[in-house]
């Protein structure tokens, strides 16, 4: 068995984890490894961790709870150490780095904003705005276009749709950047046009929600905008620890 690590907090953190279980079925016992003024929340884990929904939920629930009580540095899901001693060793080796990260993230949360365009609505908008496209479309229809022409025309439409989606995405980012301490743009998964994470002071969450409402209204019918969070700062803990920063 090895040790699954969920998050790192300062040892002054309340660590109110009752009622929560770690990964595995039926959930594993959660415990704390303390070292160098830090505490890592861990549980025993099988050798091989997989992204089962219940395990990802357990991971997320632990981090949500820890984040609600103070500052937490979230581990990537499924981070497994050979033993508790190895975890303590890592806390010792990286104490300076983790402490400065905790300080930097104190009182801040991550909010994630995703925009997903309705393809047909964007297409209408592009057609309405671009007379050239409409003309080409009519010409192609009249002349009975071959595959080459249709391909070229389709590409120009696709470019216009992409440009419009990007313009809207940039508009959302621009509007939210003002609220953010830091900004992280994520991969466009699941067909979204924007996957934006922002690090905000906890007391600004309300302002961001109002801003997102305004943006939703402005892009109503064109794009669906979703706001997730407050989340623990997944996107702002810098994946790896620089070896030197011990």
């Amino acid at each position: 068995m090895s040790t699954c690590v969920y998050g790192i907090v300062a040892d002054s953190h309340p660590l109110g984890l009752d009622g929560l279980r770690g990964i595995g079925a039926p959930g594993s016992e959660v415990r704390v490894v303390g070292e160098a003024g830090l505490a890592a929340v861990v549980s025993t884990a099988p050798e091989r961790v997989r992204a089962k929904r219940r395990d990802v939920l357990a991971h997320q629930a632990l981090l949500d709870r820890l984040g609600g009580q103070g500052t937490v540095l979230p581990m990537r899901f499924g981070t497994v150490a050979p033993s508790d001693e190895a975890v303590a060793g890592e806390l010792r080796a990286g104490a300076g780095h983790y402490r400065s990260l905790l300080e930097e993230l104190r009182g801040r949360v991550e909010l994630n904003v995703r925009a997903a365009h309705s393809e047909e609505a964007v297409l209408r908008e592009v057609l309405r705005e671009d007379e050239g496209l409409r003309e080409t479309c009519a010409e192609l229809r009249a002349a009975g276009a071959g595959i080459g022409d249709r391909l070229a025309f389709g590409e120009s439409v696709a470019r216009a749709v992409e440009a419009r989606c990007r313009r809207d995405a940039d508009r959302v980012t621009g509007a939210l950047r003002g609220h953010a301490e830091r900004v992280s743009l994520g991969p466009l998964v699941n067909g979204c046009s924007l996957n934006l994470s922002i690090l905000v002071d906890r007391d600004r969450v309300g302002a961001v929600e109002r801003e997102v409402d305004r943006l939703r209204e402005a892009l109503d019918g064109l794009a669906d905008i979703r706001l997730h969070g407050p989340l623990s700062p997944y996107s702002f803990v810098a994946a790896g620890r620089p070896a030197a920063a011990g």
Binding site: R50, A51, K52, R53, I147, V189, N190
Partner: protein, 83 residues
């Protein structure tokens, strides 16, 4: 899928090209099948349908295991875990 779409809309493809085309289609289909981003999207979709109550626990568990197994195979095909 990219190539499949093209095949259907290109009636003039000469017959002798079929084996080559067929192999391309299989390649494309297989690549899509093992594309981690596609599997990830399917995983998220599966969760969503489970949250919506469209699948029961047992059905969900089986489908999830199958997707996760495919994700691990995809990783084997692409040369081992990231670290």
């Amino acid at each position: 899928m990219g190539l499949v779409g093209m095949i259907l809309t290109a009636p003039f493809a000469p017959l002798r090209a079929v084996p080559w085309v067929a192999r391309q289609v299989l390649d494309a289909a297989e690549r899509e099948f093992y594309d981690p981003a596609v599997i990830r999207a399917e995983l998220a979709e599966l969760w969503a349908r489970y949250d919506e109550g469209e699948i029961d626990e047992a059905g969900f568990d089986r489908a999830e295991d199958e997707l996760l197994a495919r994700l691990e195979e995809a990783e084997a095909i692409r040369g081992g875990p990231p670290d």
